[in-house]
Structures are given as structure tokens and as C-alpha cells.
Symmetry: C2
Subunit: 232 residues, 2 copies
Amino acid sequence: MDVILHDLCGADPARRFSPYCWRVRMALAHKGVPHEALPWRFTDKAAIADAGTDKVPVLRHAGRAVHESWAVLEYLEDHWPGAPSLFGGEGGRALARFVNAWSDSVMVPGVARLVVSDIPALLAPEDAAYFTRSREKRFGRPLAEVTADRATAVEAFRRDLHPLRMVLRERPWLSGPTAGAADYIAFGPLQWGRCVSAFPLLEAGDPVHAWRGRLLDAFGGLARNSPAEDLT
Amino acid sequence: MDVILHDLCGADPARRFSPYCWRVRMALAHKGVPHEALPWRFTDKAAIADAGTDKVPVLRHAGRAVHESWAVLEYLEDHWPGAPSLFGGEGGRALARFVNAWSDSVMVPGVARLVVSDIPALLAPEDAAYFTRSREKRFGRPLAEVTADRATAVEAFRRDLHPLRMVLRERPWLSGPTAGAADYIAFGPLQWGRCVSAFPLLEAGDPVHAWRGRLLDAFGGLARNSPAEDLT
């Protein structure tokens, strides 16, 4: 296969859950780029060391190894210019960077704080130990404590999604008449959450929920058919 | 003049402060559209009633009256296609709508909560009474109470600007190689704040502060030369 993606997985190699890898998988599908999404685990640092990183996604193509999801999206746009655009032009590329910043700084920590304690049980033992140790250090407390109040904390998370909701109340996609990079960028954290936790991040009836459903169904149900916990 | 903008003002007709009107004024300058920005006061409802609204901005051109700042930006892009683009293509137009939603739902209430009590003193008596009554109803308490803790509340506001900061740390504008609609959309609430209140919304050294400075200087200092209270 000409294109390889190192894609985070759990103990079950079919359990793919990284928010950043999901951005790339949706973008690869959008571009119609044939590829192999190889399972990669948190402690497989050696498999990607040559790419100069210890995190996925890493995309391999034509002897190059591109890491960091935003860099991979730009790489795909630039190297498959004849395939459907991810950005819809240079103005769209520039503002997708803002959506990326918003997703990384509002959505990712928002989802983490609601589901992080459910992740270790899905990981291989060595990965679970690594994950728990590194995340408890980051949060400064046991993961079970981080999510203990999630039944109420989810309200603030849903409020923080309001800018997304405002747009999706009036149109089906963020990116224009069809889905694009900005949609996949915002979808990644929600797909992460539903793949690792049965805790429902979204309410039925929320335009964000309906949009997530459209993205789950896109590309023949690529995201919907991946093993998940929250099936709402 | 072929193009007229009804532009919110204070007791001094030169005091222009609406976040939504500032978006349009910057966009008119970007497009190089000759126009007259007529002073309009909160209680001048009759002057714009024919436009089917009781709020500015209202843009008059070729017998039409367009209201709501987003609609005006689209109108300018579509009716002056030969002038520099505000959106940089259709992808940029679509995502500028997200920036607009984020600015309206995060920045505007964030600024309001820090400066609203300073506004009545700048208004003509009739407008001040209208403004105080309507805003106290909205906040459910006296305006002085809303801003009483602003010395500490500003920290949360500055944190909420983080997505903007992430982008502006790495590039000078949101919209691409030059400023565009998304920049003006996010600038509007900050310009509103500095025009009505000496309370400093931003810290020197913040990339958002430096970006605001570049926009204040744009178009011959259009925004910098307008009467303001916060000169930091």
C-alpha cells in the first residue's frame, strides 16, 4: 500500500479512538486515498521514532513520514490536488486552522474530562499503565475523580459547543455545501468520546448530534462501523 | 454617496462603538467602498424602520437596505466582486460563519460582562435610559453589579480567547496572508470594548493584543483614530 497511517488502537486492534487519527481517517476517505490504517499502541514508540515523534497520527507516503494531524491534512490537500478539496480554497484552509485551535483547546479537554476514566479498561495492560500514569500526572488526581461529576459537568461541555450548534442549526456542514476538513477536525473529539465511553456526550435533538450522525454515516459508515461504546 | 451605513454612536456623534458596525466598517474599508457612516442612536428606531429592523448596522445601497452584520459582509463580497475578497473563496466564507458564531457567543458576552456599566455615561440621556433598562433586564441586575468583579473576571475572558491566540501565535491574521472578514468579525467586540471603557481587556504581550494593534492601524488607522477609552 502506498499510504500507511499509524492509527491508535486499544487491546482490540479494531478499537480505533484517537481524536487526531479520526480527523485523518475521515480526510483520507474524503480524498479517496487508498491506504492501510495500521494499529499502533501508546507504548509502540519504536514504530514511529523515525518520524521524529512519539505520537500518532503518522502518515507514511513516498518515503516521507508526516506527523501531527493538521500537518497531515495539509499534506493530503497538497499531494492529492485533483481529489475533492478538504479546505475549499486558501481562505478555508486559513480558517480551518482556527477551527483546529478551537477543537484542540475547547473540545478535546472538554471530552477528556468526561471520558478519560473509561479509557484504561480498553487498553492492553502495558498501555493502560502508561496511560493512567501520564494522564493522572496531567490532571493531578485519579482519573475516576476527574469524571466523577460528569452527569452535571456535561452541561458545561454542551454549552461550550454552542458556536458549532449555531452554525449547524442553519446548515448541514461547517465547511460549505459538503463536509470538509473543519467538519472532521471538530468531529474527531466527539468520535473519540463515543469510541471509548458509553457516557453520552450529546443530547438527541441537538443539531450537533444530528451532524455527528451524518459524519458517522459518511463514507459508507466508516466511523459508525468502528467499535464504540456510546451508540446513542 | 452611493453607500450609507447607519452606525451606532454615543452622545458625541464621533463615538462609534457597536461591535457589529465595526465589523462592517472594517469590511467597507477592506473593499475600498466609498460610503458615509451616518451616526445613529439607540432610540432612532424610525430612521431604520423601513429596513425591517430596529438595530444597526443597516447598509443602504442601490435602493436596498441590508441589516445584520453577517448579511452585510456577504452583500459586500457579492456586490463588489472585483475588490479584494473578504472571504478568500467559498471555504473561507463557510468557516467565517463559524468565527462569527464564536465571536457572537463567546467574545460579545465576554466583553459585555466586563464593560457594560461604562456605556450609559457615553450615551445621550434618552439612549442611556433605554440602554440601562434593556441591559439590566437582560442581565437581571444593576449594570454596576455585572462588572463589579471585572478585575478578576477578565482572566476567564482572556482564557476564552485561547483559540484565537493559538492561531495568532503562529501567523499575523486569521484569514490568511492578509486580514479578512474573520479578522474583522473577531476584532469587532474588542474594538467595542476599547471604545467604551478604559478597562483593559487584553494584556500587552498577548498575541491577541498585537493582532488588535495591527487592525487598529489598518486602513490608515481607521479604528485607532476613532474616539476610545482604552488606549493600551
